[in-house]
């Protein structure tokens, strides 16, 4: 027993030494991106990212980012996207490299991208350092609010050197949202319950951009004070809230309001708004569509 333990300790020590030397080796030989660089940009984690020019090979690891890249006028430079990237239609033809949570690092590297755009939904730490060691720049986008969408589209335009289409798209997004906000509205804001999934009952909390979206469309979210992004809410509370309007994030398993809401004003008056889950839940350019659709139904 004692002997076993000692040999175990020895081999453990060996492993640690081996790993440490490998690690040090990588650190000291860490290659720097060579070739011309269009400049350094600060991403949403505060990292300085140097972007090579010309920038022709981009991978997006989130459906919302794919939509922003297209809106910013650089969709034709995408060489890899996630399996969920289905908009615009051209995105479906681009090679898939897994999904946001579990991207396939080998297929990413094989596509020889110059830049990988990731959202904070990915597991970043290990992933970013692995790609950077392959001389692939990793830029993190974290869209938390509605106004972040046009802001990030402009920044993408700066990075891609496609300022014109990007800035136009961003301005158009802002114009549409502002038009909704300045339109005439009923003086009383309808009380809204947004149902993310029926069973179990998930909704949106204070940290979700969808809460802001409801407010800016002219409603007031009943769950805006609940902490977190997407809390599972007590059915008792949901029933007691008695919403005027229910918004469904429309997907296969979320077609109807939960049965506990059957006696709410919203269901009795048929005030149920179904917004395509892809449009509603992706923090990208189509949030303007979501705002318009919700505002259109709220302020009828």
């Amino acid at each position: 027993m004692e002997k076993n333990w000692n040999s175990f300790k020895r081999s453990l020590l060996g492993c640690v030494l081996l790993l440490t030397s490998l690690f040090i080796g990588c650190e000291t030989n860490r290659p720097m991106p060579d070739g011309p660089v269009s400049g350094a940009f600060t991403d949403d984690l505060g990292r300085e990212v140097r972007i090579p020019v010309p920038l022709n090979r981009i991978i997006s690891l989130a459906p919302s980012i794919t939509e922003m890249v297209f809106a910013a006028g650089a969709g034709d430079r995408l060489v890899g996207v996630t399996s969920y990237c289905n908009f615009p239609a051209e995105a479906k033809k681009i090679q898939k490299v897994g999904d946001t949570q579990t991207p396939n690092i080998e297929s990413i590297v094989a596509l020889k991208p110059q830049l990988v755009l990731v959202s904070t939904a990915s597991q970043l730490e290990a992933f970013a350092s692995m790609l950077e060691r392959q001389q692939i720049a990793v830029f993190v986008l974290d869209v938390k609010k509605l106004d972040d969408v046009p802001d990030r589209m402009r920044r993408l335009g700066d990075i891609f050197l496609t300022k014109e289409p990007a800035y136009v798209a961003a301005a158009e997004f802002e114009r549409r949202v502002r038009a909704i906000e300045t339109a005439k509205r009923p003086s009383e804001r309808p009380k809204v319950f947004l149902q993310i999934s029926n069973e179990p009952l998930f909704t949106v909390g204070s940290d979700s951009f969808m809460t802001e979206l409801i407010e800016r469309a002219g409603g007031t979210s009943l769950t805006k004070d609940i902490s977190g992004g997407y809390p599972k809410i007590s059915k008792e509370t949901a029933l007691a809230m008695d919403p005027d309007v229910i918004i469904l994030s429309d997907s296969e398993d979320n077609k109807e309001p939960n049965v506990v809401l059957n006696n709410s004003k919203a269901v009795k008056n048929g005030r149920i708004i179904r917004v395509n889950a892809d449009i509603l839940s992706r923090p990208g350019p189509r949030l303007a569509d979501a705002v318009e659709q919700i505002a259109g139904s709220l302020n009828k």
Partner: protein, 302 residues
């Protein structure tokens, strides 16, 4: 019996919610079925745990730890995925899964030198991890959106309680508790030793089959209705034995009541601790159960 305890416990907390107009709807359509289901699930798991412990002469035998719950969970997932998960498919396949898992663990734990605690717990761990890996495999092959509900449910969640689920679980809990209580005398003798029990005229093989079958039925229906609520079968019988001694004629039926109370209490914590958000009840029971398991293990004389 469990029913009465559950209703009494439920009524104590009605004042938490002050809504008067919707009070009735909340009480009768949301909270009551949930409390009733929680009570049945708790009773089922505790009775299954108590009788497995007596049969295997091992206080660490517990449906969750032995892989029985995971067997039932896998059965439910299969029903959910391939049969749309409605009607009797869920509990039936959960029952089958629980039965197969129980049998597998028993076969692995049995050796020529009889069954010892390490073998049993290890076999349980192996079966549990094996089944977990199949569950992970199945869930990753399937559409994430469709299974969001399932993964939450897997942790033990009572929020999807309906009266239908409750009736089904109640039926199984009643049958299981009555049948297992009827075997309590035999289990008492078998706790001394299977040879001794045999000499006293106990049909050891038949009792074993009944206990395994009933435990699988109880765990299967409980898991099909509420996911894997862990450690109930460990904590509750142990507390009952502390209170009233180890006569199975009392331990088995008392576990039903105590288990019902325990899960209803744990679920009350789950739905009020961070209200209006909710925790899965399985997280609460495991929070209490895991340290108790370590405590029992450290007492070493098992």
């Amino acid at each position: 019996m469990t029913l009465v305890a559950a209703i009494l416990l439920g009524s104590e907390r009605i004042s938490i919610f002050e809504m008067t107009e919707q009070g009735r709807a909340i009480l009768f359509h949301i909270r009551l079925p949930r409390i009733l289901l929680g009570a049945c699930v708790g009773g089922s798991l505790a009775v299954a745990g108590a009788s497995l412990q007596a049969l295997l002469r091992n206080p660490l035998a517990e449906p969750y730890l032995l892989g029985v719950s995971n067997g039932a969970a896998l059965g439910t997932l299969v029903a959910f995925v391939f049969l749309d998960g409605y009607g009797f498919a869920r509990p039936l396949l959960a029952f089958a899964g629980a039965g197969i898992a129980t049998f597998a663990v028993y076969q692995m734990a049995k050796s020529r030198m009889g069954m010892n605690v390490e073998r049993l717990v290890l076999s349980g761990v192996i079966v549990t991890t094996f089944l977990s890996s199949i569950i992970v495999l199945l869930t990753s092959l399937l559409d994430a959106a469709r299974l969001r509900g399932y993964t939450f449910w897997l942790l033990g969640d009572l929020s999807q309680a309906t009266y239908d689920g409750f009736y089904m679980t109640l039926a199984a809990a009643t049958v299981g508790t009555i049948v297992l209580s009827s075997q309590a005398r035999a289990l008492n003798l078998m706790m001394v030793g299977e040879r001794d029990a045999f000499d006293f005229g106990v049909e050891v093989g038949r009792v074993r089959m009944i206990v395994f079958g009933m435990a699988s039925l109880l765990v299967g229906t409980a898991v099909a209705a509420s996911g894997s609520v862990g450690y109930v079968g460990l904590i509750v019988p142990h507390l009952v034995r502390l209170a009233i001694g180890s006569d199975n004629r009392l331990v088995v039926p008392m576990s039903a009541i105590a288990g019902a109370i325990f899960v209803v209490l744990a679920d009350t914590v789950a739905r009020t601790a961070i209200a209006p958000r909710e925790l899965p009840v399985g997280a609460i029971t495991a929070l209490i159960g895991a340290p108790l398991f370590i405590y029992l293990l450290r007492r070493a004389n098992y």
